[in-house]
Symmetry: C2
Subunit: 333 residues, 2 copies
């Protein structure tokens, strides 16, 4: 568990996209972000107060989160100076970079000297159990996609926000690095050893109040041959009561797999639901979440209406329309 | 890749079952086993020549394989003396034990001193790629089970033997520790990090002659919630041309999951085939392998005939009947 609130380190981000992790924190957990730290040449701006390390500490920040991708997989010397100074100033560090903080001897030494913690959220921090499949109390919903990167995390965060706004009990349960940095906890499922994947998901979503919803962040796709095993571990470890189908309608082929076409939403439903019912015979598909970012407003509305009529399920783009109709479908279960 | 042939270390095995890894090597790769090494009190006997370390080296043995389970997860002092002496005598060591050879400082020191290799086959020895899903040449067959431990490895080894006897080209591709020790190579799939599972299976089963069969060892079950993700990675990474359904008909519930019933063979077929066709649209279910060890001869024959009539697929117990009918079905594809 990463201590909040954060100071968001944007480094020398060449554009806004490079700082998308920081943007996610600011969008979804604004209370976690007291300010931003930008270096000379930084082209990203979250609209948060620019703070020095000392100012951010005075404002209560506990952790400096690296909210920016680095180029070439190297933590540069310029970054290092800031990161070491942050440890000296009393910050923990949190990072989702491929190259780990713990592999940098100068950061390890500074962290030890000042009694601070380095969080590499790509690496499992827990010895997860093997899944036991025992039915747990509380309710769970999982987004499953026709492909990777179709908006499953966004859908989950939007569901969580809409549920809380409706006075329902919910917890967003991250299963990837960005989600972990946004909320401060979760499991880096794609880095878990095969035998323990489903057990990690059980660990993440324990017994809860009967009217509480765990919103489990989806990963991969049953139809994406590189990562489908991760998806099935989520379905069986999460034992969801409800599935949301997620889709991006303009994509020409499966992400990274030029020879593979995306399945239809019908094919996704017909594949995912029987698998989910192995772990939870009561599971239902309750709605559809579509990422229409690449469509004009009218085209998007037309598409959503067509899918809703065809599939007989509430169909929304949570970014354009919010997730309220999906929440209503979940609450009606 | 583990150097062959082996001297099989049976230690102080309390019974024959404890030495089942050694038994598997002797049964399936007799040419790999020059002899057995038994300590005082050993109750297992493979019927191989008992050899000293020096005798086995003189007979050409390159690796001492720990073919026995140890009690309590500790490599005892009595074992250690033999293992160190083996390294001194010029053997590599290979083990599938939970507690690793590489974590024993005395073994590491002896291996370094004598220039020998310690093979812990539970631990991946390769950095596997992420799967790319590209169609590979050659043919592949995978056994998928209604449950874990229903005879998928045995089925694969029997297929390999029957194919070779029929003059067909085949390679058994192990995906678990016992199979790796039997053949000297393979991938410990349950220990691979989630993102790389399917890529490890692609790595294991590369392009091959058009008429060559890779016989991929199955793991887990799509219906076993603890390990189903591993199974799906095998299906999608292996892109099999043919599936064999494997079943054990007397089991009361899924292994280790008392609340879960085994699926029917029809349910397994209907779940596995559409998933397999994501990676290989031409995939077919070609036969059924049943472990009837718990049934009397007549009962088994009756059961096999009933399943064959019901499913319309060749149905055999490869242990009782051999795998020839399954090979014929594969060869007819």
């Amino acid at each position: 568990m990463i201590k909040t609130p954060y100071l968001l380190f944007l480094g020398d981000a060449p554009d806004a996209l490079a700082a998308k992790v920081a943007q996610g924190i600011k969008d979804w957990r604004p209370d976690n972000a007291v300010g931003q730290f930008r270096m000379v040449g930084c082209k990203a701006d979250l609209g948060l107060p620019d703070m020095t390390l000392a100012e951010a500490r005075a404002a209560g920040a506990e952790t400096l989160v690296i909210g920016v991708a680095n180029r070439g997989g190297v933590i540069s010397r310029a970054w290092k100076e800031v990161l070491v100074a942050a440890l000296e100033a009393g910050f923990d560090l949190a990072s989702g970079l491929h190259n780990l903080l713990r592999d940098a001897p100068d950061l390890v030494a500074a962290a030890e000297k000042h009694g601070r913690t380095l969080h590499d959220v790509r690496v499992p921090a827990v010895e997860y159990p093997i899944a036991n499949g025992v039915k747990r109390s509380g309710k769970r919903v999982l987004a499953v996609g026709t492909d990777c990167s179709v908006g499953k995390m966004y859908t989950g965060l939007a569901l969580d926000r809409a549920m809380k706004a409706a006075g329902l009990k919910s917890t967003f349960r991250p299963t990837g690095q960005t989600g972990i940095l946004i909320t401060g906890e979760g499991i880096p499922l794609d880095a878990v050893v095969a035998d323990f994947m489903a057990g990690a998901v059980e660990w993440l979503t324990p017994d809860n109040d009967a009217d509480h919803w765990d919103i489990i962040e989806g990963q991969g796709s049953l139809f994406h041959v590189s990562f489908s095993g991760v998806t099935l571990a989520l379905i069986h470890g999460g034992q969801p009561d409800a599935l949301i189908l997620s889709h991006e309608p303009t994509r020409g082929h499966m992400r990274g797999l030029p020879d593979y076409q995306l399945p239809t939403l019908e094919a996704l439903r017909d594949m995912a639901l029987p698998l989910a019912r192995v772990a939870n015979p009561a599971c239902q598909v309750v709605g559809i979440s579509v990422n229409t970012a690449a469509m004009a407003e009218e085209e998007a509305e037309h598409y959503l209406a067509e899918v809703e009529a065809r599939m007989g399920l509430p169909t929304v783009d949570p970014f354009r329309q919010g997730a309220e109709r999906l929440v209503a479908a979940l609450d009606a279960l």
